[in-house]
């Protein structure tokens, strides 16, 4: 490390990233309300993919940044239909194996953006890589007929991680799910690219996957996207001072999703909703604490035994956060938590 690096590290200790006001208190509150841990393992994709809808409600909203990110979260059910943003995706990932790797290709389109994700898995634990090795990753080109689609710089993580030994200290397995580990995979790599969408040809899009330097065409894949169908959900809403929240419950009562009504009034909109104390109520009278899926959807699932009929879902508390524009600068309001709601949603 040279003197410049040492000086910068010294400056880093003095000139730190400021924390948002109340950040530490909010983290403490979250830590005090951690959900029950999922004893059944980590379900990355528990439902048929076609049932998942990507709902981008940002269209027409002037809120930026956080609101746009939040509104791009995934919702099952009616969210996408209401949003007016068209959503397509491959019904099932394409999978193939080559040279000891298992590849999985997925693609989706939200509005005018197509995203392509390529994941690869190996049952081998990769050795440490030398600094001189070329970068991992792939270049991708997407075609609609003869037209090459414009590429966006959507900085998708490129690289792989490997699990040398699950018993070893310091292994990171944040990508590999238990199901993937059970399949014997020890390494996963991810790469992806976004494209500016054009109308899909009847035969679908054509994807060219090249080596990292773009020099060699490795695979040519047809990508045919289909509009997704809405999961049949029961919808019910409740209005609070901070805004209106809609709850979606699946017909079998084992899935709950919540989303805020993002109606913009006076440069402000409800942007975030987080539920506490969610329980699924069985016909036997047993209450099953909800567990949040770890796939980033924010969806709550029920882990009641298969034979148990779920009759209702109860939400104990909701934390709502609004965003607003202050002289053109986006700010977030202090979250409001509504306790003791006893919001019971009958199933079906």
């Amino acid at each position: 490390m040279n003197g410049w690096d040492q000086r910068l590290r010294a400056r880093a200790r003095r000139e730190d990233c400021p924390l948002p006001r109340g950040f530490e208190e909010r983290i403490q509150k979250e830590l005090n309300q951690l959900p029950e841990q999922d004893k059944k393992g980590h379900q990355k994709r528990p439902l048929s993919r076609v049932l998942w809808l990507a709902a981008c409600l940002a269209a027409g909203l002037c809120l930026t940044a956080a609101a746009a990110a939040l509104t791009a979260c995934y919702f099952p059910g009616v969210g996408a239909i209401k949003s007016g943003v068209k959503v397509w995706r491959m019904e099932e990932p394409q999978e193939w194996t080559q040279d000891g790797w298992t590849y999985r290709l997925e693609a989706e389109r939200q509005g005018e953006v197509i995203r392509v994700h390529l994941e690869q898995y190996s049952t081998q634990s990769l050795p440490e890589r030398d600094d001189d090795e070329s970068d991992y990753g792939y270049q991708m080109k997407l075609f609609a007929g003869d037209q090459e689609l414009e590429t966006g710089l959507d900085s998708v993580l490129e690289g792989w991680e490997t699990v040398a030994d699950l018993r070893a200290s310091g292994c990171y397995t944040s990508y590999l799910t238990d199901a993937e580990l059970e399949q014997g995979f020890l390494t996963q790599g991810t790469t992806g690219t976004s494209f500016q969408a054009v109308e899909q040809p009847e035969e679908g899009y054509t994807l060219h996957i090249y080596t990292y330097d773009g020099g060699t065409l490795l695979w040519e894949k047809q990508i045919k996207l289909a509009t997704v169908q809405a999961l049949d959900m029961t919808e019910t809403s409740r209005t609070f001072d901070a805004g209106t929240v809609t709850a979606l419950v699946s017909k079998d009562g084992r899935l709950l999703d919540l989303y805020p009504e993002r109606k913009v009034e006076n440069d402000s909109a409800l942007a975030f909703v987080y539920a506490h104390d969610v329980v699924f109520i069985g016909a036997s009278g047993e209450q099953y604490p909800a567990q949040m899926l770890s796939d980033g959807t924010g969806t709550w699932i029920c882990n009641a035994p298969e034979g148990e009929t779920i009759t209702a879902v109860e939400i104990g508390a909701l934390r709502l956060k609004r965003m607003y524009l202050d002289n053109g600068v986006q700010r977030e309001a202090v979250p409001v938590t509504y306790w003791d709601l006893n919001w019971v949603i009958p199933v079906g």
Partner: protein, 167 residues
Amino acid sequence: MATIELAGIQSAQEQFAALVTQHSRSMFRAARAVLDCDADAEDAVSEAVLLAWKNWGRLRSGDAARAWLLKITVNCAYGYRRKSARVVYTDTVEQLAGGIEDPPVAHLWEAVLRLPEDQRAVVTLYYYEDLPVKKIARILGVAQGTVKSRLSRARQNLRELLREEEE
């Protein structure tokens, strides 16, 4: 169950809470380096806390706890970026990068935020977290050479932004 042993703390939830409390600033800093506003970064940290809690049993050593939390946080932050509808096209990249026409800044973090996104995370982990290149590569899921090249470009940009001479 993770084998972290913290004096006087018994339950898994208490152990986890103590760990997150200890590293929450680092988690926010890492998320903020990837995302473009505080609110997004805080939401990514919040998601990372939940994800880490769900995967708590996978952490095999307290020695790796900080890097493990940072990796999950960075992954969540990248997930936010990936899921967001915001796409940056190539013709706007130069405007985002810290260019020579940027006015100098006096505060290091302000300079970091002006770096291109891929350099911000590397700089944050290297200078603010004092992590070695090898560990940064694991956290970001890229090759060590990539970390080095990003650091090299970041140094050049920081030197211009801070108007300092590199030794």
